[in-house]
Structure formats: structure tokens, C-alpha cells
């Protein structure tokens, strides 16, 4: 009885394994087919965040490239900079991206195109250990890079530096890199719905409503938690890449609504790095033209289009002086 039960179970198990194997094969085939289709649609995008990355990696030949987070994307008006500098400009800033993404993308871009300037828009407190949701922040940057890694294999090194598991998952499952992107890729490839972008610059309309907005809402990290050495290493690597490729780097802290007084330890790190790479370090974070001027800000961290116009003019002044000196 026991034996027959075993035989019965064994045959059922074999059958089950066969079914699972069949399911696995069908899944792999379906994954490859759907993944290939998703990749095709992905590269058809003509606006949206991924489009910015596609431009940086594959297309732009601009002489000035701006890199950084949403603050970069909203603060530097490409057309305005182009007007003042007489150089072509592309704003490669992307929402929620940090130095990890920046280093990875410029590394790949420089294999194809060497601009004259790269402006690194950085947030000093993003280089502190207790940066809010730090691991999540890195995860986001990694997942943003995944869809491009199949075409730009070098990106796997940068992704692997954060998570080898992500590299393996991406190599094993074709659809994985495009996880949750199907909606946005279709939208950005086949419709014109979405935010407007002008050579990468994304304008923001509206200003801070001071009647309802009188104080900062959340405490930002302080030096007490320590400096994120890895982030600084990535910045140094990025600047080294610029140096090796004859690109002039500029580091910029763009304006904040609330006066942002940097702690000297963190600024010293930036200063030392900037100095060692002969790189301009421009600090507008407490520039009184912007600070506490609600009409120039969309929110605490982002200039609106009026603020961006003034800021772009200012930054063009500094770049052009440097440009003049290098000619």
C-alpha cells in the first residue's frame, strides 16, 4: 500500500515536473518575445525621462551637457544657455538621479561623444551617509539604467557595483529590465502626453504660495552621520573621465528656496576635489537673488521657469568666463 502510494505520488510528481518544465519553456520563450518587443518600443520614445537618457547615451552631440537630478532638469534652460554661450547645450538632468547614474551615463556617453563642458549639478547633502532612503535611492538609479544595459554593456559594471543580483536578473529575464515601463514607453513613443521638454530642460510653472508655506517641512541630513565616501569616489571618477577625455567639468550647487548653509566639512571635500581636478565649483545654494524669493521657485528645491531663466543667465556668465579663459 505504501509502495503503491509512493509509485502513485512519483508518477504524479514526474507529471508535475513535466508541466513545470513546459511552463518554464513557454515562459522563457514568451519572455524573450515580449522583452524584445518592449525593447523596440522603449527606443522609440520621443519624450519623457528615458528619452533624456537615450539622448545622452546615443544621440546628443551638444558641446555642453548638464547632468544631475530633477534640479538639473528644471534649472538649466538649454536654449537660454545656448544663446548666451554660443554653444549647443543639452540638459541631461533626470528626476531622482544621483552621482551613481551620472557617472554611469557619462562614462558611456564619452565613448561616443566628447562635449566641451559637462556641468554637474549636485546636491551637497546627497553626499552624506544618511541621505533619505539612501538604499532606495540607489535602487532607483540602478533600475533606471537596466533597460539601457543590453545596448550599453558597460552599464552592467555600474549596476553590478550596486547589485550583482540585478545584473543576473536582467540577463536572465529579458522583460525584467522593462518592468513597469510598458505604460510609459507606449505613452512616450506613440503619444505626446507628458511633460514638455526643450533640449532636456523641463520647465515648471507656478510659484510657492507663501500664505501656506512658511517653513521647511523636513530636516535634511547633517554631517553627523558621516560623509558618503563612495559618492565622492564616483564624483572623482566622473571628473577623471572628463579629464581623460578633454572635457571641462563644472560642479554647481544650484539655488534652494531656504538658505542652505553647507557644513564646511562637506564643502571642503568638494573644494578639494574641484581643486585637484582644476574644476570650477559654483555655489548658488544661498544666492540671495533666489533664496526666499517665492516668485522664482516652484517648491523648496526647484526653480520655476522664471527662476531658471535668471539662473541660466548667471551660470552662462560663469561658464563663458571660463570658456574665454580656455580659449
Amino acid at each position: 500500500m505504501v509502495v503503491s502510494l509512493f509509485i502513485f505520488n512519483f508518477s504524479r510528481m514526474i507529471k508535475l515536473f513535466k508541466h513545470i518544465l513546459l511552463l518554464l519553456i513557454i515562459t522563457v520563450v514568451a519572455d524573450r518575445l515580449i522583452g524584445t518587443l518592449q525593447e523596440y518600443i522603449f527606443y522609440q520614445q520621443h519624450h519623457g525621462d528615458d528619452y533624456i537618457t537615450i539622448q545622452v547615451l546615443d544621440s546628443t552631440k551638444a558641446a555642453v551637457i548638464i547632468v544631475g537630478s530633477s534640479r538639473a532638469s528644471h534649472h538649466y534652460i538649454s536654449d537660454s544657455l545656448e544663446h548666451y554661450l554660443g554653444l549647443s547645450v543639452f540638459n541631461g538632468g533626470r528626476d531622482n538621479m544621483g552621482i551613481h547614474y551620472t557617472k554611469a551615463t557619462i562614462n558611456e556617453m564619452l565613448k561616443r561623444h566628447k562635449p566641451k563642458f559637462i556641468i554637474f549639478d549636485v546636491i551637497p547633502y546627497a553626499f552624506l551617509n544618511n541621505n533619505q532612503n539612501a538604499s532606495n535611492y540607489l535602487d532607483v538609479q540602478t533600475s533606471v539604467l537596466l533597460p539601457f544595459a543590453n545596448k550599453h554593456r558597460g552599464l552592467y559594471d555600474d549596476i553590478g557595483a550596486i547589485s550583482q543580483a540585478e545584473v543576473w536578473k536582467s540577463k536572465l529575464i529579458k522583460m525584467y529590465a522593462y518592468n513597469s515601463l510598458i505604460g510609459s514607453t507606449i505613452q512616450n513613443s506613440y503619444t505626446h502626453i507628458g511633460h514638455q521638454q526643450f533640449n532636456g530642460y523641463e520647465p515648471l510653472s507656478g510659484k510657492i504660495d507663501t500664505a501656506n508655506y512658511h517653513q521647511p517641512l523636513f530636516t535634511i541630513p547633517t554631517i553627523k552621520e558621516g560623509i558618503d565616501s563612495h559618492a565622492f569616489t564616483l564624483l572623482e571618477e566622473s571628473l577623471q573621465l572628463c579629464k581623460d577625455n578633454g572635457v571641462i567639468p563644472v560642479i554647481c550647487f544650484s539655488p534652494f528656496y531656504y538658505p542652505y548653509h553647507h557644513e564646511k566639512e562637506i564643502i571642503q571635500r568638494f573644494q578639494v576635489i574641484a581643486s585637484s581636478f582644476h574644476c570650477q565649483l559654483l555655489d548658488y545654494s544661498s544666492d540671495p537673488t533666489f533664496t526666499n524669493n517665492a516668485t522664482l521657485f516652484y517648491d523648496e528645491l526647484h526653480l520655476n521657469k522664471d527662476g531658471a531663466a535668471i539662473f541660466s543667465k548667471k551660470i552662462a556668465g560663469h561658464i563663458s568666463m571660463s570658456h574665454a579663459r580656455t580659449n
Binding site: H19, L23, I26, T27, A30, D31, I34, Q132, S135, N136, D139, S143, K169, I173, M175, Y176, Y178, N179, S180, I182, G183, S184, I186, Q187, G194, I208, D209, N212, P216, L217, F218, T219, I220, T222, F256, Y258, H261, E263, K264, Q271, V272, A274, Q280, L281, L282, D283, S286, D287, P288, T289, Y298, D299, E300, L301, I310, K313, K314, G317, H318, S320
Partner: protein
């Protein structure tokens, strides 16, 4: 014929002027450190000059007026501060100083700044802000009387302070350049640099400097004697004290919940509805993982959720939501408190207590307490309403919608990081400010819409149709295995793979 070089020069000049026009005018603001340093400077360098008390003195780039304070305390009668900064002007005027709003390089004759009219000029950390230092110095030489004096202090380049990277420093002087500039503009130099002072300043500003770093700041050939002197004078012993003293005291903040004040009523309503489903999906899914894992080992756990958004009143909602916690509170708090046996007022009191405690259970934050209190309030209102007007029975669909709206309003408090934020969100919802349907990636809205639709369909199928269309349990193999495949592909396509996203994990 156009001379191209002249044209280019004009373009450059125009651009340079534009650049200057947008140059920084900023408030130096109060700085304890600069106050201490100025006192030190006046004691060390200005007092020995024995300037007459009625001398005409100018403090150019006066900041918040530390030098003016010092001179006032020494009873000098004719001291004027010069700055363009509105904040600093106010600070100085509040202290009763005379302030003139002039550019550093142009002191107007119409206000009495004739040739050879000033006895002493104090210029501490100001000349580097001048884009025209040679014009500035010529101007100072113009207004200074014969044998008049000027104190100039500028930040040293190539030291760890990296003054040359300061955007407001338009002119960076090395020792030789400044000396040459001063000679060309007609000055004799008495004191140019003092190592001891530089080290002292360095220590004031960089309390954690190491000996080698100090050496890098000052002239190397003089560093050791100077350092020894400072050690003897216990200046270096100030290190820890200074560290405490000059630790930034500012409360430096940034937003986290980004744009709620800009978001219109419609967006926020969508947000509130979406969060109601997010928290349900999160917590219910979290519980389902526990149930499934237990089942693998042969344990049958109680279900924690029973389609709570099908509830028609708050009491029913709590019979369907977080059943384990509700049962625990009922058995170990509500009943020991007396439950509903000691009259309606005590029943109301006990109900309110368990909801307050329930809020508190989620975290020591007012938002959770208010969330719990709101649910308690809803429940009490239902009891009161049923007793006062038992004859009024709203249609089931109205009750269902009303209950969902009340629960969603309470979720706003649960989600918001503080009471102010929740209040602002509800205010914006209430004002129903028009605007775009959704701010952000519209595809997420589409995903959410279909996910919520699917959730409702699945729950309706389970509650009302006895799982008639649950393909995962279908007897038909092809259908069942196709459902498995679809599930896997859906997970691969829109599943979340990097862990730690459960909201309820924190509770």
C-alpha cells in the same frame, strides 16, 4: 566699415556688464566667528595706530558692523559703514551706526568724499569682492589724507579654505600681486601678512585642522615657531571648545512630500483614493504572504481581511479590516473595559478608547492618533444616528460610497507625515481647485486603475460569485496553467522585485 575687433570688444564689455549686473549682493549676516576675529584685529592692529577719536573713518564692506561696534565702544565719533547689502544695512542701522549704500569702488564726492578727506579705511575681507580692485584702490588712495591709513585683509588663495572657489570673490590675490597692486596705486605697505594671525584664523574656522594642514596654510618656513607659540598660548586647546561653539546651529530642512501645496483638488482626491487601495493591497498582501507561508507548513491561519471596501458602514469595515488586531482589542481592551454592558455612554467611551489606542499602536505620532480618533468618531456617529433616526435607511450604494469617503479621509491623516500636511491636503481637496487630473507619470495612473479594477473584480468574484471565475483554481488544466503563465508574465512585467516596500512592515 565695421571694425570687427572693436565690435567684439563692445560685445564683451556688454556681456561683462550684464554679468556684473547679476553679480551677488548678499547679506553677510551675523557670524560669531567674524565678530571674534574683528575684535582680535582691532586690538592687534588698529588700537596701536592711535587714531584720533574724531578721525573720519570708513568701514568698507562693513557686513553686520563688527568693526563699527568696536569703534563705537572706543568712542570714535565719525565712523561710517559702507555696504550694498539690505540685510546688513538694517542690522547696522538697528545698532545706531551710520551706513551708506555705496559700491565698494565708487565713493561719491557729492556726499563729502572729496580727495584726501578720510583718515582711516578699514577693509577686512572686502577687496576680493571688487571686480575692479585697481580702481577700488585708486579710489581709496584718492580719498585718504596724506599719512592716512588703510587696513586691508584678504583671504589667502591656495589654502584649505579654498577662497578662490567662492563665487563672490571676483579678485583673488596672491601676496606678490597684492603688493604690486598696492604699490601701483600709491600705497606704502606696513603690514602685509601675519602668520600667527593666519593660523589663529585658520583655527577659528577649522577647529579640526591637523598640524600638517596648518602648515599648508601658513608660510612653511615660519610654521613651526608659530605653531609652537600658539600651542604655548593654548590656542590649540581651544579646538574642542570651538568645535562646539561654531557647530552650525541652523535648522536646515528640505521637503520630502514634494508638491502637495501645488496639487489641485482632483489630483489629491485621486491620491487619497489610490492610497486607500495601496494600503489595503500592501497590508492584505503582506498578510496573504504570512497565510500562504503558514499553509506550506500545514498551518491554517485566520484571514486578516475580508473585502473591507465592500463595507457599508464603519462598524462593518472594522469587522473586515485587520481582523486579528480588531479581535485582540475587542477581547483584551474593549470587553475588560466593560464593553457595551454598562450603558450607552460607557460603550461610547470604550469604543473611543480602543480606536485611540489603535491609532497609538501604529505609532507615536499625532497623525495616527487622529486617524484612530476619526474612526472612533465615525462609529459613535453611526450609533447616534441609528438611535436618533432609526427610520432613515440610506440606499446600499450610497452607504457604500459614504463609508469609502469617510475611510479615505481618515487615511489622509494616516499617510501624511504631520498634521499640517494632512490639513493642507484636505483643504486643497475641499477647495476643489481645478487642475490636471494627475501630476506625474500618467502610466502609473493607468496601472493603478486597472489594478484596482482587477482587485474589485477578484473580490466580487470571491464574495458574491463564490470564486466562479477563479482560473487559478479551475478544473480545466489549460485554463489553470494559462492562468499560471499569465500570472508569471504579469509579475515579470509589473511586479516589484526589490524588497522593503511594504508600508505595514513598519508597524
Amino acid at each position: 566699415m565695421i571694425d570687427i575687433n572693436t565690435t567684439l570688444d563692445l560685445v564683451k564689455l556688454k556681456f561683462y556688464n550684464e554679468w556684473l549686473y547679476t553679480a551677488h549682493i548678499y547679506d553677510e549676516g551675523l557670524s560669531e566667528m567674524h565678530g571674534v576675529l574683528t575684535t582680535q584685529v582691532v586690538k592687534t592692529y588698529i588700537d596701536p595706530l592711535n587714531i584720533p577719536k574724531n578721525a573720519k573713518i570708513l568701514d568698507l564692506g562693513c557686513g553686520p558692523g563688527y568693526f563699527l561696534d568696536e569703534m563705537k565702544s572706543r568712542e570714535y565719533t565719525d565712523v561710517t559703514g559702507v555696504t550694498l547689502s539690505p540685510g546688513d544695512i538694517k542690522l547696522c542701522e538697528d545698532k545706531g551706526h551710520i551706513i551708506k549704500k555705496y559700491d565698494l569702488s565708487f565713493l561719491p564726492q557729492k556726499d563729502g568724499y572729496y580727495d584726501e578727506s578720510v583718515d582711516f579705511i578699514f577693509l577686512r575681507h572686502a577687496l576680493e569682492h571688487s571686480p575692479y580692485p585697481i580702481f577700488s584702490l585708486m579710489e581709496y588712495n584718492r580719498i585718504l589724507k596724506q599719512h592716512g591709513k588703510i587696513y586691508i585683509e584678504v583671504p589667502a588663495p591656495n589654502c584649505v579654505r579654498k577662497h578662490e572657489f567662492n563665487l563672490n570673490h571676483y579678485s583673488i590675490f596672491g601676496e606678490q600681486q597684492l603688493a604690486a597692486l598696492l604699490n601701483r596705486t600709491g600705497f606704502d605697505i606696513n603690514i602685509f601678512k601675519d602668520d600667527e594671525y593666519l593660523v589663529y584664523e585658520a583655527l577659528q574656522q577649522q577647529s579640526s585642522l591637523k598640524v600638517e594642514e596648518i602648515n599648508a596654510i601658513i608660510d612653511r618656513k615660519n610654521s613651526f615657531p608659530v605653531l609652537k607659540r600658539l600651542l604655548d598660548q593654548k590656542v590649540i586647546a581651544l579646538e574642542q571648545e570651538l568645535l562646539e561653539k561654531y557647530k552650525p546651529k541652523l535648522i536646515r530642512c528640505v521637503r520630502l512630500h514634494p508638491n502637495y501645496q501645488h496639487e489641485n483638488g482632483v489630483t489629491l482626491i485621486i491620491g487619497a483614493i489610490a492610497f486607500s487601495f495601496q494600503i489595503y493591497g500592501d497590508f492584505s498582501g503582506y498578510s496573504d504572504i504570512a497565510l500562504g507561508t503558514a499553509k506550506l507548513f500545514g498551518f491554517e491561519l485566520l484571514s486578516n481581511f475580508k473585502f473591507p471596501y465592500f463595507s457599508r458602514d464603519v462598524a462593518e469595515f472594522w469587522r473586515r479590516w485587520h481582523i486579528s488586531l480588531s479581535s485582540w482589542f475587542r477581547d483584551y481592551l474593549y470587553i475588560p473595559l466593560g464593553g457595551s454592558k454598562n450603558g450607552k455612554y460607557k460603550a461610547i467611551r470604550n469604543t473611543f478608547i480602543i480606536f485611540i489606542v489603535s491609532g497609538f499602536w501604529h505609532g507615536a505620532n499625532w497623525t495616527f492618533i487622529i486617524w484612530g480618533a476619526l474612526h472612533g468618531f465615525y462609529l459613535i456617529m453611526e450609533i447616534v444616528f441609528d438611535r436618533l433616526v432609526p427610520s432613515i435607511k440610506l440606499p446600499r450604494s450610497i452607504r457604500w460610497i459614504l463609508n469609502f469617503v469617510l475611510v479615505a479621509i481618515a487615511w489622509v491623516f494616516f499617510r501624511a507625515s504631520n498634521f499640517q500636511t494632512a490639513k493642507q491636503i484636505l483643504k486643497n481637496i475641499y477647495t476643489f481647485k481645478p487642475g490636471p487630473l494627475y501630476i506625474g507619470n500618467a502610466s502609473y495612473l493607468v496601472y493603478s486603475f486597472f489594478a484596482i479594477l482587477f482587485l474589485f473584480a477578484a473580490e466580487y468574484n470571491a464574495e458574491k460569485l463564490n470564486n466562479r471565475y477563479a482560473w487559478l483554481y479551475s478544473e480545466r488544466k489549460v485554463l489553470r496553467w494559462s492562468a499560471y503563465l499569465l500570472l508569471i508574465l504579469t509579475l515579470l512585467s509589473i511586479g516589484v522585485f526589490n524588497g522593503g516596500q511594504f508600508i505595514y512592515f513598519q508597524f
